[in-house]
Assembly symmetry: none
Homo-oligomer: 231 residues x 4
Amino acid sequence: MASSEQKQAGEQAGSKRRPGRPRCEHSRQATLRSTLKLLQKTGFADLTIEAIAADAGVGKATVYRWWPNKGALVVDAFASSAESQLHFPDCGSVYGDMSLQMNQFLRILHSRRGRIVSAVIAGGQSDAELIEAFRKRFLRPRRQEAYQTLRRGIERGELPQDLDLDLVLDILYGAIYMRFLIRHADLSERYINQVCRLVLDGASTIGRPLSKVKSQLRPTNGRKMQGALRN
Amino acid sequence: MASSEQKQAGEQAGSKRRPGRPRCEHSRQATLRSTLKLLQKTGFADLTIEAIAADAGVGKATVYRWWPNKGALVVDAFASSAESQLHFPDCGSVYGDMSLQMNQFLRILHSRRGRIVSAVIAGGQSDAELIEAFRKRFLRPRRQEAYQTLRRGIERGELPQDLDLDLVLDILYGAIYMRFLIRHADLSERYINQVCRLVLDGASTIGRPLSKVKSQLRPTNGRKMQGALRN
Amino acid sequence: MASSEQKQAGEQAGSKRRPGRPRCEHSRQATLRSTLKLLQKTGFADLTIEAIAADAGVGKATVYRWWPNKGALVVDAFASSAESQLHFPDCGSVYGDMSLQMNQFLRILHSRRGRIVSAVIAGGQSDAELIEAFRKRFLRPRRQEAYQTLRRGIERGELPQDLDLDLVLDILYGAIYMRFLIRHADLSERYINQVCRLVLDGASTIGRPLSKVKSQLRPTNGRKMQGALRN
Amino acid sequence: MASSEQKQAGEQAGSKRRPGRPRCEHSRQATLRSTLKLLQKTGFADLTIEAIAADAGVGKATVYRWWPNKGALVVDAFASSAESQLHFPDCGSVYGDMSLQMNQFLRILHSRRGRIVSAVIAGGQSDAELIEAFRKRFLRPRRQEAYQTLRRGIERGELPQDLDLDLVLDILYGAIYMRFLIRHADLSERYINQVCRLVLDGASTIGRPLSKVKSQLRPTNGRKMQGALRN
DNA sequence: ACTTAACCGAGACGGTACGTCGTGTCTTGCC
DNA sequence: GGCAAGACACGACGTACCGTCTCGGTTAAGT
């Protein structure tokens, strides 16, 4: 994926311009633009290079020259659309910060960009580079900021010190992704707030990684485990 | 999707056989079997109906006669294979039952059939009928059982009476789906147990739907109003 | 072709009715009727057994039970439509009789049955039985009568005694078939009259078979042949 | 039909190449060659584009890009193979020239290419474009030459000046086509010579169009009005 | 009246070819 | 040498008929 980046890096490394006409920036952007546009209409599986090239007024060979396959192109297009960074405020409570942040995410999912997110995740199920790009360009940056939010909560004493941050964030966001992808129930602001409250409340008491917890991991008998529910 | 079911249901409803030669059950099962077999090798996008028909020794038209598209076929195959695999035991505690069931699910996801789950969800992002079939044939039946598990917990007093069951289940399973689909962190037994503990613990205290909290329909019930319950 | 005939003959030969339900005459006629109907719309190549069966409200297997292939069915249908025998008058001159007879034929070709004639000839190009049936059921009966017409002309002295009748008839009717099949020029009554006159005039002088003619068949030199044109 | 010709003509007319890769002449000829080859084995109805493409080592889409249907392809193949085969010589007499040319045609019909002629005429009975292509690519060019042959005969005085050339040619060739297509009698060299003699003899005396006969435009010519000329 | 056997309609079956579409590669002439 | 245009070999698509095969039901002759 993102082959254009690599090739440009190659140019700079040689410190000498390649001969011939340099690549046409206009074509590149038209291609990315058309990719996003069509992706919102048709989904990843039905997206065709042919249609993108036609829509962009670009030769098919030009597309293949710069992107090795559909996934790489979609990744590039997706990354180039990461326009407005999300705002992670500090409003004094983990619940407030997280629910605000998650509601921003919700609005993205409900916007036209949401179709692209689902398309990228869908495509990523059969294209390792595509899902990797999704993680690197979309998930990770957001998560870095979410870490800060949770750490502030720990400092404030709202959350235990040895909290497994990824655990909490996967639970929180997993609840969103689930309804977003499977669409079996309403993905509303209210739902997000409920998720937030339940998970953060659970985290505030027992959210530490099990490795540091004294109790058994897997009780040999379900009956005996009953009492262990409260750790 | 799942057209064979519907047509057969139609027969039974009319209580009178349709005229003409009845469908060949042998072909149906050979088709489903080949679908599963090939899906484990190639992934959803590269799976072709042509290959399925050839592998099953079945005419292509026969496949199209009973399944409108690749997705419906895959869902049918998946559902028919996974139907009797996931049990919700009663071992005396919500945590025990849920973590056991979720670990069963985990094993499916990690088996070769896991590819099928991700394929169906991926395909469903651009095919409404496909994701609907996934919900109807796979998600919903299991969820019915999960409701029972949670209700037993309520009866035992482990969970509050007015708990929003779907909320809890979406949080629990969302955490699994997230790591399964985005693959950014290890989807281990340990992870599942942690999720289970955190979420059920959170649920045991504050997981009631807000609407019921505000209306206070049944004040005689032993519910404890949380001070933190706002928004 | 015409397998139904053969089977019925078989019944009679055994002088004992076969057990079981006898064949349904209604289905047979509906099939033939639909064959003619569709043949007028689509031509031989595009005619399908499936469409015939559907149009006739008859099972496909019933068609195959009684006719081994499309050609045989078309032959039967064509033969069953040989309703009105042509009228071969005796009006005192070969020209008068033949032109009248050919004009009757012209009207058939221009009617809806004309499409069937062309379809049968077309189909006959890749189905020996079909063209044989055309000869036997359509061409031969007409030719028998045409022989009479020409023989009357010979008796009257209008045509030479040793005239090759088939030669003359093939020239006369060939001119019609050519324009009918290739459709490069108008196939009109006037054209037929012209053909008739030219050919019969030619026949009246030199139409004897060459075997009885003294002159060389193939002159070794074209120059010398010039005078031989008049025999 | 014959689309390649037209498109190439279009190029030349615009005197400017179309953009994009030009068509591959090698593929075109391989396709035509395979068409002829297979047509001699299987007949028109059983000929498949799929087999042609496979035999020619050509993509099926490439065939469809240049020929709209099987018929057009067959006509193109036939025309391109028969173009330089039929010569109208000038050996000093109409009879000599015509019989020689008709015998050349006879040899074609009796060769393996004869199957192609009958296939095209057969296909043309349910495909107007196919028979039109046959006329344009095969019949018309040859007829132009035949006109010359007959006109030479007129100049030499062998045939009357106001002879209807198409009438004579349709009678001559119709006799061939009839036996060729209906196959009810031997289509031999002897037959052709007989036809030739009879028809040309008939033409030499009365083959003028009736319209011109009645108007009597040029009474100086040595035409003998026939008493039998009525209707 | 009952059995028997062949008929019938409907339509599913394994196939084959259809004509279309998208893939990724290639060849042009222009820039 | 990049670029658009578009032809190319390839392969899967979803459809239409082929000729065969079950089905349940019908129709008569022979018991």
